[in-house]
């Protein structure tokens, strides 16, 4: 349509210097990656991270502080990086490449072979790791450090961008805090206190944290004494007690856009890409199948894993295979019957799919129990299921695709299509929560800003223009739809369950009798 490229995106000289600083910071890491052996590693690591952090901060200040407070989406679809242009693809490829190396070829990052010492990029991070926990860095330490740095630096940028919006500011402080403290620092300190403890990010709840009930992890907890046992119990309570209560009160946003690390990255680093999520009906259909299949996979996989290291006899431990499988089946049945009884009519045909899914899982578990031998489940080696999950879901889906494809699929591809935790929270949010996005009567002008900037690909406008509240399992409650709405139509709220879902065309300002007629049909 345009003859000349819109020129809305000139950057100032300050911003150019800031970008240069960030690039130099990254360049130091790149040199380390290619095995340049820096003297004074601590200094160069600090310099590199400092340049990246300061560069982002200076750039953001120059971008937002000289403008009045308000929505800052000018030029989003003209910029190559945020509109799937050439820069978008380049960044996507670099990120994807990084994840592939990180998960599958850590030796190229310089991970020490057995007994040796780190080289390359990982060795650059040794001083920081030694300082925090007294052990040399691993590829996961490098990743965790960069991840935290990214959330902090871009979280700051996001807070400047939305400095008129307290909800966005508090939410961002929250994800920055949880990443820095819970994901990064506390596990390191826990290791210092008790080095039997397995790495445990206390905010990462099963099934997102799919390895928490692995044999090595559980053994690690138990062998670490009372503190370990307490942490294990905390992990179990997290999923069965804390999560349902918080989700009932606040919706899944308490986790997905206030606490979660994946969400934290998506909301900060991923913010420039949120508009790239697909809003097509076909994408939504795919999403519903995909995310629930992952959930089923993770439930069966975890059950099988735990099952495989439990014993048969009551003499060893009260939780035998038989007891465990009965508990799992009993719990699933309870949830299933409860949902059908209270919400069956609301769910309609979805209840049928739910029922089919439920019986498949139960049947799978029973077959497993009665055909299982010590190391074979479903006639498949027990570890195979777990390693398949770790590879395809844990690494490829959540990392390579979920984050590497930010500039292509938008910032929440993993959260939307793959995260089993999101599936559980969403299921509850849809059925049993006080959270909803309220639509403001008849004020919607169908402009499409809400839908465009929904990172979860929800067609928010489809609800708003009908005056319908938005109660969707996928909504992470980031609040951006409400922020970008030019007419003040959307409000995230926790209110009573009653009247939360209003599948009617309630457009105020019209003839009251007419609206009754419209809704009768």
């Amino acid at each position: 349509m345009s003859l000349a490229k819109p020129d809305a995106l000139q950057i100032t000289n300050t911003q150019k210097v800031a970008i240069l600083a960030g690039v130099v910071g990254l360049f130091i890491m790149t040199l380390a990656l290619f095995n340049i052996d820096f003297p004074q590693k601590g200094f160069f690591l600090g310099l590199s991270m400092g340049l990246i952090g300061i560069g982002t901060i200076v750039y953001s200040r120059a971008a937002y502080l000289n403008k009045l407070e308000g929505i800052k989406n000018d030029g989003t679809w003209f910029k190559s990086i945020s509109s799937r242009g050439i820069w978008g693809w380049i960044v996507g490829l670099i990120l994807t490449g990084f994840y592939i190396v990180l998960y599958f070829f850590p030796q190229y990052l310089g991970l020490a072979a057995d007994g040796g010492s780190n080289t390359g990029l990982i060795s650059l991070f040794d001083p920081l790791s030694l300082l925090l926990s007294g052990r040399p860095a691993s590829q996961w330490f490098v990743y965790g450090t960069l991840y935290t740095l990214a959330i902090l630096a871009f979280g700051y940028k996001f807070m400047l961008k939305y400095r008129h919006n307290r909800y966005q500011q508090l939410r961002t402080i929250s994800v920055m805090f949880f990443q820095l403290a819970f994901a990064f620092l506390i596990p390191e300190f826990m290791y210092v206190m008790n080095n039997d403890l397995p790495y445990y990010d206390m905010k990462s709840v099963w099934p997102l944290n799919y390895y928490i009930f692995d044999e090595w992890s559980v053994k690690g907890f138990i062998s670490a004494g009372n503190i370990g046992l307490a942490l294990l119990i905390f992990g179990i309570l997290s999923i069965f007690v804390f999560t349902p209560i918080l989700t009932y009160k606040y919706g899944k946003r308490w986790y997905c856009s206030w606490v979660c690390g994946c969400g934290g990255l998506a909301e900060t680093v991923g913010d420039p890409f949120r508009q790239l999520s697909s809003k097509k009906l076909s994408a939504w259909r795919f999403e519903r199948w995909m995310i629930h299949l992952v959930l089923v996979f993770s439930v069966v996989m975890t059950t099988a894993m735990v099952y495989s290291y439990l014993g048969y006899s009551h003499n060893d431990f009260w939780l035998t295979r038989g007891v465990f499988i009965s508990l799992v089946i009993g719990f699933l049945t309870l949830v299933f019957i409860g949902v059908l009884y209270f919400k069956g009519r609301e769910l309609g045909t979805d209840a049928k799919y739910g029922a089919i899914g439920f019986f498949v899982v139960i049947a799978a578990l029973l077959i497993m129990h009665f055909t299982g031998t010590t190391d074979k489940l479903f006639y498949i080696k027990s570890g195979t299921l777990r390693s398949a999950y770790g590879l395809y879901i844990g690494s490829i889906f959540s990392g390579v695709i979920g984050t590497g494809f930010y500039p292509i699929l938008g910032s929440r591809a993993w959260c939307r299509f793959g995260c089993p935790m999101a599936a559980i929270l969403g299921f509850q949010q849809r059925l049993f929560s006080k959270f909803r996005i309220t639509t403001n009567g008849g004020q919607c002008i169908s402009c499409g800003n809400c839908s465009t900037y929904c990172e979860m690909g929800i067609d928010v406008r489809a609800y708003a223009q009908k005056g319908e509240n938005i109660v969707r399992s996928s909504c992470v409650g980031c609040g951006i739809c409400s922020a970008v709405c030019p007419r003040g139509v959307l409000k995230l709220e926790n209110d009573t369950m009653k009247g939360r879902i209003n599948p009617n065309e309630i457009l105020l300002g019209n003839d009251v009798d007419l609206m009754k007629l419209v809704n009768d049909k």
């Binding site: 003859l3 020129d7 809305a8 009567g441 402009c447 406008r461 007419r487 995230l492 105020l508 300002g509």
Partner: protein, 434 residues
């Protein structure tokens, strides 16, 4: 089967078509020359600003129309022949109808200014206007300055659009303060200051005299009526209101005023021909409303109403309490009920005004001077709940009740600072003074 033809695929025509489809099996055809598919006109500005692409402004995916058996025809209707129920299209084709609905919306006003048809002079209404703007104002090198003529909602949006690409803007406003035909003084003054804070060269009480051309018949400058000053510019935006887009009906037998004249049932003088939305003109205005309501929401409501009539349940257009909204750069505006600017203010209307010290939030509440009945509210920079005010207006609450319960109507995002107690304090103090 009955064939209903709708001319115009804006919010009115499309709402009508959707509701007819819900209620009946009639054959529906929508004819539009502007675009193939429905889009949200109010969102055009965001395309130029880079917030959205054109496809994002389309509320329904392209498969929607076929699935719902709504035929779309991209063509221009040049003549309507009501005796034979025939439409003549500009491409020579003919279309027959059983019922005809005119929903052709508006077009920008032009008041006979010299040079108003030059290249680089444009309104901001149709998709074609946006394409035009991309040609003449893609950036601040091609367009070194733009002049906007007319201080209404579209004018200020155009100013925001142009300044998003760092194009300097001179904004000529006929009135002594922005939009003060509608807004009370305090609000209008606050918006003036907000416009200036966005580095817009705002000229109040200023009229356009003429637009000058260069040798390529393109805009070169404008001349100001009052001072004779010549302002060099490359683009002129004409945003001095809109007029019903009904020239193609002049040769027909349909009664026209400024718009297509309709009764309360949205019927024209010809049986089986109706008009809705911006282009419809009521013989007599409804309440405080204007005979022609060029507003998104009223277009939608007329579509909802007429669908009932066309599907055998004849209904009058009977809108509820007035409401509207807009955004002036960073400041959102909502209104519920009636609050008048100085010019049109009825004698019985008294107003209570509060403005925040930051000069970016204010409210005005109108009430009856004798009965204290709450008449309406304008709110700037604070979101308020439509449902609550709609109810209070129906219940005929008085201003004291509204002031005491104002917090219930708050619709700002969570954790936002609340101003209700501050507002209430001022209200109490003012009462004591009186």
């Amino acid at each position: 089967m009955q064939h209903i033809v709708i001319i115009g695929n804006g919010i009115s025509g499309v709402t009508l078509a959707r509701h007819i489809r819900k209620l009946s099996d009639y054959k529906i055809t929508i004819i539009s020359s502007e675009t193939e598919y429905f889009f949200s006109r109010t969102a055009l500005m965001y395309i130029y600003m880079g917030h959205m692409k054109f496809e994002h402004t389309q509320p329904y995916e392209n498969w929607f129309w076929k699935k719902n058996r709504i035929d779309l025809k991209q063509a221009y209707v040049s003549e309507v022949e009501t005796e034979s129920k025939t439409l003549h299209l500009a491409n020579g084709e003919k279309v027959n109808y059983d019922k005809l609905v005119i929903a052709t919306g508006s077009k920008p006003n032009k008041f006979g200014w010299p040079g108003q048809d030059l290249k680089g002079v444009m309104g901001m209404y149709h998709k074609q206007d946006l394409e035009n703007l991309e040609v003449y104002a893609p950036n601040n090198k091609v367009c070194k300055r733009a002049v906007i003529v007319g201080g209404g909602l579209i004018g200020i949006e155009l100013a925001e659009m142009l300044s998003s690409r760092s194009i300097p803007v001179t904004f000529l406003v006929r009135e002594s303060s922005f939009w003060n035909g509608v807004l009370p003084e305090g609000e209008s003054g606050m918006i003036n200051r907000h416009i200036l804070s966005h580095h817009i060269d705002l000229r109040l009480s200023t009229n356009l005299k003429a637009i000058n051309a260069n040798e390529a018949e393109q805009v070169k400058s404008v001349v100001i009526e009052e001072t004779g000053e010549e302002i060099p510019c490359d683009v002129v935006g004409l945003t001095a209101g809109v007029t019903p887009n009904i020239d193609f009906l002049k040769s027909s037998k349909i009664d026209l005023g400024r718009g297509v004249l309709v009764n309360r049932h949205l019927e024209t003088n010809i049986e089986g021909v109706y008009a809705i939305g911006d282009c419809a003109e009521q013989h007599e205005a409804i309440g405080n409303r204007r005979p022609i309501e060029a507003v998104w929401y009223t277009g939608r409501m007329m579509g909802e109403t007429l669908a009932q009539t066309l599907c055998g349940n004849k209904r009058a257009y009977n809108p509820g309490h007035w409401f509207n909204s807009a955004k002036f750069f960073d400041i959102e505006y909502q209104t519920y009920g009636w609050v008048h600017g100085a010019k049109g203010k009825p004698d019985y209307e008294k107003q209570f005004h509060w403005i925040h010290e930051d000069d970016d939030k204010c409210i005005t509440i109108a009430y009856h001077k004798d009965t204290d009945q709450f008449l309406g509210i304008n709110t700037f920079g604070i979101r308020m709940r439509h449902e609550t005010f709609d109810r209070w207006l129906t219940e005929k609450r008085d201003i004291h009740y509204v002031m005491e319960h104002l917090a219930e109507a708050n619709f700002d995002p969570e954790f936002y600072a609340a101003y209700e107690s501050q507002i209430f304090e001022l209200f109490k103090n003012r009462l004591q003074l009186v």
